[in-house]
């Protein structure tokens, strides 16, 4: 970090406490029971995952809770092998948008469960359109990472 001119190294660290609200509370509590919930838009009929109170497109309340499958299809993926300050997980990891069976939108999560260090293995293993399933943590906290990752079916 040392530069050739006089600098001030400063940091901002602030605690916030954010309310989940009723809909997201129910969604994340569902994760504890290994259930992935969506809500259905009363107008366009799309099942939105994670569950939403309202459909952002139609701007009307969702009116039905739907449990979607822990299995789905990879829509697109990327292989991250770099670091940045504040990164929430250690590289390498695979980010993927997954269309869970029964949902109408992509579900962003990670794909793992095989040797991630060798990119050639990754490239042979991971394909757009591949089928994956959720692997759950043994101890679940009502958090998005209660799904440890998705692995190939």
């Amino acid at each position: 970090m040392a530069k050739e001119f006089k600098t001030l190294l400063t940091e901002i660290k602030l605690p916030y406490e954010l309310a989940y609200g009723a809909t997201w509370t129910r969604f994340f509590e569902g994760m504890k029971e290994k259930k992935i919930y969506g809500t259905k838009c009363s107008r366009c009929g799309r099942i939105l995952v994670p569950a939403r109170t309202f459909c952002p497109r139609c701007f009307v309340d969702t009116d039905e809770w739907v449990e979607v499958s822990p299995q789905g299809t990879v829509l697109t993926w990327s292989y991250a092998n770099y670091r940045y300050f504040g990164m929430p997980m250690d590289p390498p990891f695979i980010s993927a948008l997954i269309k869970l069976d029964g949902a109408d939108v992509g579900f962003l999560h990670i794909v793992a469960g095989f040797d991630l260090d060798d990119f050639d293995v990754v490239r042979q293993t991971v394909k757009t359109g591949m089928r994956v399933k959720a692997v759950w943590e043994d101890e679940r906290k009502g958090h998005i990472m209660d799904i440890r990752h998705f692995e190939p079916l």
């Binding site: 530069k3 050739e4 001119f5 600098t7 400063t10 901002i12 954010l18 989940y20 997201w24 994340f28 939105l48 995952v49 994670p50 939403r52 952002p56 497109r57 829509l75 697109t76 993926w77 990327s78 292989y79 991250a80 092998n81 770099y82 940045y84 300050f85 504040g86 990164m87 929430p88 997980m89 990891f93 980010s95 993927a96 948008l97 939108v105 992509g106 579900f107 962003l108 999560h109 990670i110 990119f119 490239r123 757009t128 958090h143 998005i144 990472m145």
Partner: protein, 380 residues
């Protein structure tokens, strides 16, 4: 447009690290813009700044801190966050009310002082869900890129060509941060940061303080014999939840069609002489060119192969080097407007294109994989 608004003077600083502090550096750029317009601080009626609280500067209430540097002391002004081209539109609207003859737009970003871009954009995600699964601007772009290449058969080499072109163009731009002559292989063989993106296909973290002086029609004609008119503008925002969006059918088409309509443009391929677009990731220039109507859907790869978007091509795109050469995250959209202005005036120096530029397009994007787009049409 009724109540026409012109840009009469601009200034910017170089993208590479400066040992000057932000406060003084902003003052120098703003002062330079006023000097070029031949105006004193007192002649500026209103100020709109584009800055970012905390993440891209480390200081909350960034507008208050830079108010003095922005010549805004005692003036009716406000700050805009998000895509910086919005600030251009807000300032123009203030003039269009008829209450102000002049306005100053200031974009503020000193990237060299900031954490990595991805550290900042990671914090743009919601903390309940998308932050925890590692989303940031670069992850989003990599997901979009694979979809783009696979759905339209665009080759990785065609994406890399954007970096070759733009970093080459930047050799002629004294303000550019990254520049050089590279081969397609060099771009593809650079570090595999996040496949399918390699390091050279990702924009740097640059400094960029941008100032534009705007004036009403009457005032502009007194200030300059080469006013550059704001002929059209629009923006469009997609939904926040990343998985809800069709990443290849985003909001740029909406923003562009509305801006074209306002400017009276029916055939952008023929009527836009030059474009400066925001391509923080190389392939995005191809996708955005499609959405701007410069080629057919899926035709971005062929467009760059044709040479049309080269500096000496039929429709030069990013003759300045674009955002791959200079990426002041907060002010990069406004920098595109500055470059469009310079090209229309014939004042772009060594990177001035050979063709006559009467109408130029400036594009900005903010958020992940083009969640938010803004398009400004400028003309002589």
């Amino acid at each position: 447009m009724a109540n026409r608004v012109a840009i009469v003077a601009v200034s910017q600083n170089a993208g590479a690290e400066s040992k000057d502090n932000f406060y003084d550096q902003a003052y120098r750029v703003v002062k330079d813009a006023l000097d070029k317009a031949g105006m004193s601080r007192e002649e500026i009626h209103t100020v709109v700044s584009a800055s970012s609280d905390i993440f891209h500067g480390g200081i909350s209430c960034a507008n208050a801190y830079y108010w003095e540097s922005s010549a805004a002391f005692l003036k009716p002004g406000s700050r805009q966050d998000g895509e910086s081209l919005f600030a251009l539109a807000y300032a123009a609207m203030r003039i269009m009310t008829g209450k102000h003859d002049t306005a100053l737009v200031v974009g503020l970003c000193k990237g060299s002082e900031n954490p990595e871009n991805d550290t900042c954009t990671h914090m743009f995600t919601d903390p309940f869900y998308q932050r925890e699964v590692g989303l940031n601007e670069t992850v989003a772009a990599a997901l979009q890129m694979r979809l783009y290449m696979e759905r339209f058969g665009v080759a990785h080499e065609q994406c890399a060509k954007v970096a070759v072109k733009n970093l080459g163009n930047a050799l002629r731009n004294p303000y550019a941060h990254k520049k050089g002559i590279y081969t397609i292989d060099a771009v593809l063989d650079s570090k595999r940061v996040i496949d399918p993106l390699t390091a050279m296909q990702i924009a740097p973290k640059s400094e960029g303080i941008i100032a534009l002086v705007l004036a009403s029609e009457n005032k502009a004609k007194k200030l300059t014999d080469k006013p550059v008119w704001l002929k059209g503008y629009s923006s469009s925002l997609d939904t926040f939840n990343f998985g809800d969006r069709d990443l290849l059918n985003g909001q740029l088409k909406n923003a562009a069609s509305r801006a074209y309509k306002m400017a009276g443009i029916t055939n952008p391929r023929k009527e836009v002489d030059l474009a400066e677009i925001t391509e923080p990731y190389a392939f995005q220039e191809l996708l955005w060119c499609e959405d701007l109507g410069f080629c057919d859907p899926g035709g971005g790869g062929k467009l760059i192969d044709s040479g049309a978007t080269q500096r000496d091509g039929a429709l030069p795109v990013n003759a300045s080097g674009g955002v791959l050469a200079n990426n002041p995250y907060v002010s990069r959209g406004l920098q595109r407007a500055v470059e469009a202005f310079l090209q229309i005036r014939g004042e772009a120096g060594e990177h001035q294109v050979g063709k006559k530029v009467k109408t130029a397009l400036a594009h900005g994007t903010h958020g992940f994989a083009g969640q938010c787009h803004a398009v400004a049409i400028l003309g002589s």
